[in-house]
């Protein structure tokens, strides 16, 4: 997987305007999120539109993360990623932000595997 070098540093806002924006989000870097293979590429891919905060709020199974990518493409025109690249993104997301379950106690007997 290719690594992006310094793209954040040289980037300009997508919609450069004369007047200052109503709100200036703070800088965000991949290092703020759980380490793991493919973290940086996943980060830079997703933050093209929104903060990674919205991603890191979630805890989902791999198959539900897969649904999220499909939804991003269908609803928000995220570039369609398939094959190995999709696997890498899903590997990171489902490892860094997995579905949380209780080890014992009440359990959903029908929970999707």
């Amino acid at each position: 997987m290719a690594i992006i070098v310094g793209s954040a540093a040289i980037a300009l806002p997508a919609t450069a305007q004369q007047t200052p924006p109503a709100f200036e989000p703070r800088d965000e870097t991949p290092e703020q999120y759980p380490p793991g293979p493919n973290r940086d590429d996943t980060f830079y891919f997703c933050v093209a539109c929104h903060s990674f905060q919205i991603v890191a709020q979630q805890r989902m199974s791999r198959s539900r993360w897969d649904d999220v990518l499909t939804w991003m493409t269908e609803r928000h025109k995220m570039p369609d990623v398939q094959g190995e690249e999709r696997d890498k993104i899903l590997d990171y997301l489902s490892t860094a932000f997995p579905e949380t379950t209780q080890p014992r106690g009440w359990k959903n007997p029908f929970a999707p595997k």
């Binding site: 290719a2 690594i3 793209s7 954040a8 980037a11 300009l12 806002p13 997508a14 919609t15 924006p21 109503a22 709100f23 200036e24 989000p25 703070r26 800088d27 965000e28 290092e31 703020q32 999120y33 759980p34 590429d41 996943t42 830079y44 933050v47 093209a48 539109c49 929104h50 903060s51 990674f52 905060q53 919205i54 890191a56 709020q57 979630q58 805890r59 989902m60 199974s61 999220v68 939804w71 609803r75 928000h76 025109k77 570039p79 990623v81 398939q82 094959g83 690249e85 890498k88 993104i89 579905e99 949380t100 379950t101 209780q102 080890p103 014992r104 106690g105 029908f110 929970a111 999707p112």
Partner: protein, 450 residues
């Protein structure tokens, strides 16, 4: 880049240079949820909450004490070295909880909803797209009413103010996803607790009067709303959000075209200079920066109307499952919800405290709240509280109570509202759905005496 299989993520990004050039903004999350404590016994739990769990006998298995849930929420991510960054926005209370910066989303912790009317500084923020620039000349803002009407209307805010009677009301505005964080497994989207809601005084003109001025045709059955906020991707062809309601709802006298909030001109961050207010229904139909309302002869199919968006299952589905879009219906009236606004979750009280004064609020979408109950023993016994009347339809109802405590220690206070149809808040978030709409379990706080 010719062979699809050889393309990297970076290449895909470069296909759209404008998007790829988008500045990398944001910050680390402060809303991480680390999940449950592994096999914690009562002793360990008591140690962790720093006091005796007084009504432990009736504390349901599988529920983590509210105090622990609160700590879990604050626990930093493994990789995040810096502490949570404070929320900062001009005119807003730094105590709001930031859920995301792009788009900007912040909720009001329950204890900051303690005012009878929520001040601007404490009102939650929800954006779906980019925040437009503040309008230089508010009265020149233009609204179009078209579609299934006899005489399409193009009218400025200045003309609206002159031509139609001004109307004010107190109304709850509540995000459709309020309470989403209570779902298990976690549902997708912003992880609201109960604070994607507030009650303000809204001033504007009747939506029904303005629609009537355009002469709705007999064929008109549904509205479609459009705002000026751009899609997050920066692509002008993409619609950020376009939702609508059945025409009879839009014609209710409490639906307003709003230009003032709490007697001040409507702030840009809340959709000023002109927004819709469709009280009782998910906030997303109350479009901000409103530019157009199109009447349709069928249900609206705009951005946010289809799939699982703002929809709930007709027949209950397996939590965590895929869901069949055909089994979903549009979420209209919001479900009943009651909150404790005083004391705050995590309050420490002096040893010997044997009575606490409680305050709170309750509301129920299109309905009213019939009763409010509190419990200090995990729901084994309930006490009915003093519940006020709404100032007008769609206002929230404030409540007060005094509760007695048998001794020092750790207590949870649970609060449960019952709506005018007799429906109570459940103990757990009901009717799981992929995007987590309708999560209205009762509110729990923890206090420590001594």
């Amino acid at each position: 880049m010719s062979d699809k299989r050889e393309r990297t993520i970076v290449d895909l990004r470069m296909e759209d240079p404008e998007r790829a050039d988008a500045t990398i903004f944001g910050r680390r999350t402060d809303v991480s949820r680390r999940g449950f404590m592994n096999g914690a016994g009562l002793a360990a739990m008591s140690a962790a909450v720093g006091g005796t769990i007084v009504h432990s006998a009736t504390m349901p298995g599988g529920l983590i004490p509210a105090a622990l849930a609160q700590d879990a929420k604050k626990a930093p991510e493994a990789a995040a070295a810096q502490g949570p960054q404070p929320f900062s926005f001009p005119g807003k209370d730094p105590g709001l909880s930031l859920l995301g910066e792009r788009p900007l989303v912040a909720e009001t912790p329950e204890h900051l909803l303690d005012d009878e009317t929520t001040p601007l500084s404490k009102f939650f923020i929800r954006n779906n797209g980019q925040i437009p620039e503040k309008a230089a000349q508010p009265d020149a803002w233009e609204l179009t009413i078209d579609g299934e009407v006899n005489s399409p209307l193009k009218i400025t805010l200045g003309e609206l103010k002159k031509r139609f009677a001004t109307k004010s009301l107190y109304a709850v505005l509540e995000c459709g996803g309020n309470g989403r964080s209570f779902y298990a497994p976690q549902a997708r989207g912003n992880q609201w607790t109960n604070g994607g809601a507030g009650c303000a005084k809204w001033t504007g003109v009747s939506l029904a009067e303005v629609l009537k001025a355009a002469g709705p045709k007999a064929s008109a059955t549904y509205t479609a709303h459009y705002g000026a906020d751009q899609h997050l991707s920066g692509d002008p062809k993409q619609v950020t959000l376009s939702r609508g309601v059945r025409l009879p709802k839009a014609m209710e006298p409490e639906c307003l075209l709003v230009w003032a909030m709490n007697d001040a001109p409507l702030e840009n961050i809340h959709g000023g200079p002109l927004r819709l207010l469709i009280p009782g229904w998910p906030g997303s139909v109350s479009h901000k920066w409103l530019t157009r309302i199109t009447l349709r002869d069928k249900e609206h199919d705009g951005a946010g109307m289809t799939g699982f968006s703002y929809r709930v299952p007709i027949n209950p589905m397996v939590p965590g499952g895929k869901g069949d879009p055909k089994n979903f219906k549009i979420l209209e009236s919001m479900p009943v919800r009651g909150i404790i606004t005083n004391p705050a979750n995590g309050t420490k009280l002096p040893a010997g405290t044997r009575e606490i004064a409680l305050r709170g609020a309750a509301w129920a979408g299109d309905d009213t709240v019939k009763a409010m109950h509190v419990s200090t023993d995990y729901g084994a016994t309930w006490q009915q509280v003093e519940l006020g009347n709404p100032r007008n339809k769609f206002d929230w109802q404030r409540w007060t109570a005094r509760i007695k405590l048998p001794g020092d220690g750790y207590y949870e206070i649970w609060a449960r509202a019952t709506d005018s149809n007799g429906r109570m808040q459940p103990h757990a978030a009901p009717n799981w759905n992929p995007q987590g709409y309708g999560g209205n379990p009762l509110h729990r706080i923890a206090v420590l005496v001594g």
